[in-house]
Symmetry: C2
Subunit: 221 residues, 2 copies
DNA sequence: TTGCTTACTTACTAGTAAGTAAGTATTTTT
DNA sequence: AAAAATACTTACTTACTAGTAAGTAAGCAA
């Protein structure tokens, strides 16, 4: 049964809506990483998209809702990454996780945890919960990867995988922050040391390519 | 030569001025750590101190100046810490550094690096430079302590002291951030693992007392 | 053709931000 | 006693914030 013209146009409309929504989320994500949640405003997004402030409120009635949507989108991305790398070895999974942060360092972005946790106290409960869920998801992902890799004898570390995951994620999170003050080079030094500790050989070329939803940093005015 | 009454009153005035200045800095420091630089306002400080907004502008014409003063005060505190612990062993110095962060975790504070680096891009050059200097100072302090401790055979780690310092500082910085999402317990787990990696025995009681300029969290309205 | 929905825009409110200019009570200097 | 400095306050400006209410052009549905 081929779709009628009516169904066709309806789908087109829905896609348009989704695209606009996604574009708002994309820009908000970039702004949160670059300026922090409390430092960006609807006007920044509206200006770049050449629409009015109110149009953003049409999609996201409150800033809190927008924040939640940004996190939801990040969680969806993570789920896709997890799915696509689920067949890989634990070591490859760890390397992939590192490369996700590496990609951020290239764009002078920080990660959402590093950006949202400092402002945590100023968020509404809903948004706080979303941040919590995001942190849990990332820590779990790292933990599972490290655990798997150690069982495969590919990485070495002492202690519980959960604790090690917290340390590794911390290193990556803070490395992105420190890039702000000390430039890209500190990221490499830190990752170098981190992976050497874990007994993982690597060169930049070894890092897997990450399909990135944000091909270039959005331009802010 | 005993001071005249005139000299007496002048000194009293200068002390008053200094006290007010310090109190503004103290409150700003707390607010920056709890809410972030861009999320707090002069009104928060004025309200707590029961003075007017403009009185704060009298001491710190711009928010940037206030930010610089907060960092300068942190640097002074660090210099004092360094001076007072300069006779200790490297291991004790490392433990002391950990306990500074531990003290912050108790107040649900994050460190100034963790608070200021995410907003870095929105700062004026002057303030950015101050943040850079602060990061350098903390990393150097940790580096010197680790280096000394390793030479004394009290801690073990691989790699350059500078790289290790970056990892250790990162862990502490990020541990404070993660406390927001996961509660105090994650701080202990992370510090436990961190110090075990370094071969340092510790219990909470072992951490040196830190003389703290912020006896309780300031109350915010 | 009429009414309804969608995706906005225009124009606004109410509140808050940093920052300033001018005034004032108190104290200090001359 | 007069002038100047100090440590503010009062009253204000300009600029922006999130958020809303009402309107509208275009398309779709009856």
């Amino acid at each position: 049964m081929r779709p009628t013209r009516v169904e066709d146009t309806r789908r087109k409309r829905e896609e348009d809506r989704k695209r606009t929504r996604q574009e708002i989320i994309r820009l908000a994500d970039g702004l949160i990483r670059q300026q922090g949640f409390n430092a960006f405003s609807y006007a920044d997004i509206a200006g770049t998209m050449e629409i009015r402030n109110a149009a953003i409120h049409y999609y996201f009635p409150t800033k809190s809702e927008l924040g939640k949507a940004v996190i939801e989108s990040e969680l969806e991305r993570i789920r896709q990454y997890q799915w696509r790398t689920s067949g890989n070895s634990g070591e490859e999974q760890v390397r992939f996780l590192v490369s996700v942060f590496y990609r951020n360092s290239q764009l002078n972005n920080i990660c959402l945890m590093g950006s949202l946790l400092p402002d945590f106290a100023t968020f509404e409960p809903d948004l706080q919960n979303a941040v919590n869920r995001m942190c849990d998801t990332i820590l779990e992902w790292m933990m599972a990867s490290l655990d798997k890799a150690r069982k495969e004898g590919k990485v070495r570390f002492e202690g519980e995988p959960a604790d090690r995951a917290a340390l590794v994620v911390s290193t990556l999170l803070a490395a992105l922050l420190l890039v702000r003050a000390r430039g890209q080079s500190i990221f490499f030094h830190m990752v170098d040391r981190l992976l050497a500790d874990l007994g993982v050989d690597w060169r930049v070329g070894d890092l897997p390519e990450v399909e990135w939803p944000f091909p270039e940093s959005p331009s802010f005015t």
